[in-house]
Symmetry: C2
Subunit: 391 residues, 2 copies
Amino acid sequence: MLRFEILATDGHARRGRLTLNHGVVETPQFMPVGTYGTVKGVLPRDLEAMGAQIILGNTFHLWMRPGLDVLRAFGGLHRFEGWQRPILTDSGGFQVWSLGGADGKGRRITEQGVHFASPVNGDKLFLTPELSMQIQTVLNSDIVMQFDECTPYQTAGHVTTEHEARASMELSLRWARRSKAEFERLANPNALFGIVQGGMYEPLREASVAALAELDLPGYAVGGVSVGEPKDDMRRLVAHTPHRLPQGKPRYLMGVGTPEDLVDGVANGVDLFDCVMPTRNARNGHLFTRFGDLKIRNAKHRADTRALDETCTCYACRGTTLPDGSVRGGFSRAYLHHLDRCGEMLAPMLATIHNLHYYLNLMREVRAALDAGTFAALRERFAADRARGVD
Amino acid sequence: MLRFEILATDGHARRGRLTLNHGVVETPQFMPVGTYGTVKGVLPRDLEAMGAQIILGNTFHLWMRPGLDVLRAFGGLHRFEGWQRPILTDSGGFQVWSLGGADGKGRRITEQGVHFASPVNGDKLFLTPELSMQIQTVLNSDIVMQFDECTPYQTAGHVTTEHEARASMELSLRWARRSKAEFERLANPNALFGIVQGGMYEPLREASVAALAELDLPGYAVGGVSVGEPKDDMRRLVAHTPHRLPQGKPRYLMGVGTPEDLVDGVANGVDLFDCVMPTRNARNGHLFTRFGDLKIRNAKHRADTRALDETCTCYACRGTTLPDGSVRGGFSRAYLHHLDRCGEMLAPMLATIHNLHYYLNLMREVRAALDAGTFAALRERFAADRARGVD
């Protein structure tokens, strides 16, 4: 099931509430990525405590490991990974694309589906819209993504032409119809989202939007952005496509992006985001803060007793206040720098808590501004704060 | 300061309460090891929530990184690492020993101290009893260990002779006196422990005990066990030395050991233990459970929906019950197996929580049995349960 209410709007921006089988998601919302059934480096209870309302799983990875027999034994992904709130899974299309390599030789696409070799053991595999739906039904994901071909920006140096992008987009449309038919045949009780493709070409994007809208799916995503294209192209597409999707349905911008990209996406009518950036960058010592980004490996942090971000309320920056009023935790830049330098696991653990809290909190502030009718002011303050740079 | 009360005894075993500058430690107690200012893979708040009352830090490592200037800026180790309860630091002697390599060529020991090369940058370093006290004073450790020479079981295949062990033990005694003098000169407000040495030779151990007792230190440790000797030699020493130490003072068996070693140590009069085993083994997929040890990498766990240990109340096995009655977490053998196989950080994180909880809980059960006068029954049940093997 899926219910979507729009509570407030401001230009293209929307403040919404999405009700799924495993709970409610307030939008705009950021979804942490849990590829292999774990958001890397965070305990599920901490993820929940910091306000994550929905997380991602990757269909392709989970199909490979632990495999469907194991996931079936747990009745799906929720109990397996100890996460009670909603889960969205991708369709496997993007992974098949990225596994193909820069020259695309690692996979062969036919009308029926995609042939490729297992990255785990080299076995020949064949993924189709039907199989993707079957896997996502076993996972019992609250939001199931259609199987699509993620149109590359370029392949081995050759930028995808409009002709090629059209063929790819049309294939994704046919796969959308097959995904929908199989999803219905399986009597999957969750919600299927379509994915807009069309490469860097607005007319193709518009054709994709129109054809997908006819399928009357409960939600839609914009795919094929953040696939290696210049930043200006990404901004152009984000300004173009999301607000053209059906008004009353949730819109998901796949795989995007920086804090700036998220705020920009909201202004362009996006409701849901996912990105590995907060978790992956955390593991590389790259921290997002209100006043710009902070590279904890920089030697200048060596003896800095201040918090990563003194305005932040996450466990890494502020600690946890217990019922008796005592504070547990609250760590300094010097400590994070030291942990990182020593290769201690606690460095990525604390950095991941901080970065995910930053992203989730940014979306909380965006929702509050939309509720209060102050989104324009928030955007200005956000841009000024981030441009200020870390002290 | 240090106050030690013995609340109950059973043979050599003691149930005690140790009061230090940063709080109370119920004994017998296990101390998780936090070498570089972090118990690997655990958030400090989780360590506290699972009942850790005192943790270790390694003087040598912290002297190298982050360095004394940084630790001074934080007023010591507690605020730097976000741990409010007591901390014990070793003296650096063991690290200098282990850094020397199997042939001992990496260091040169003189009456004055130990010359060696920094493992971080190759700088020539010289560690003395006085410098060890100065570093531990900067760290503000609740329990400071004397600088000692950890007598090796063997060096390059040559088993340490009684003659060599005597010279080493006597050097450690002279360093104990110098440690005490410097500790007092620094007006360190914490507690200094002496370390019994003497290799595998009971007469030397007795001489060490007698000479250290004359120094009237507030606590004593048994060092130079678990240094590569056969297990029977270790058992012989643990049965021999601890109960010969001054009755009214806390006794610490350094670097030991398995769950069986801990219960055996308590029976022989030990109050405090530390060991890297629960944390290090966790990172290698070796889990301690009530019914024996479990290797999570074994393929037989692949689809096992059961908890690691169904009698365990840790977050990994049972989850956390929130005030509203909902449970967060509680993971299966299949999930841990999967995480480990995928190289996900959550595998060592959950395994570390489980293993530390197991060790801390075992000590809780031992204390409860000593309180209730049922320690003999507990030892029998413990041995039978562990021998049963994991289902």
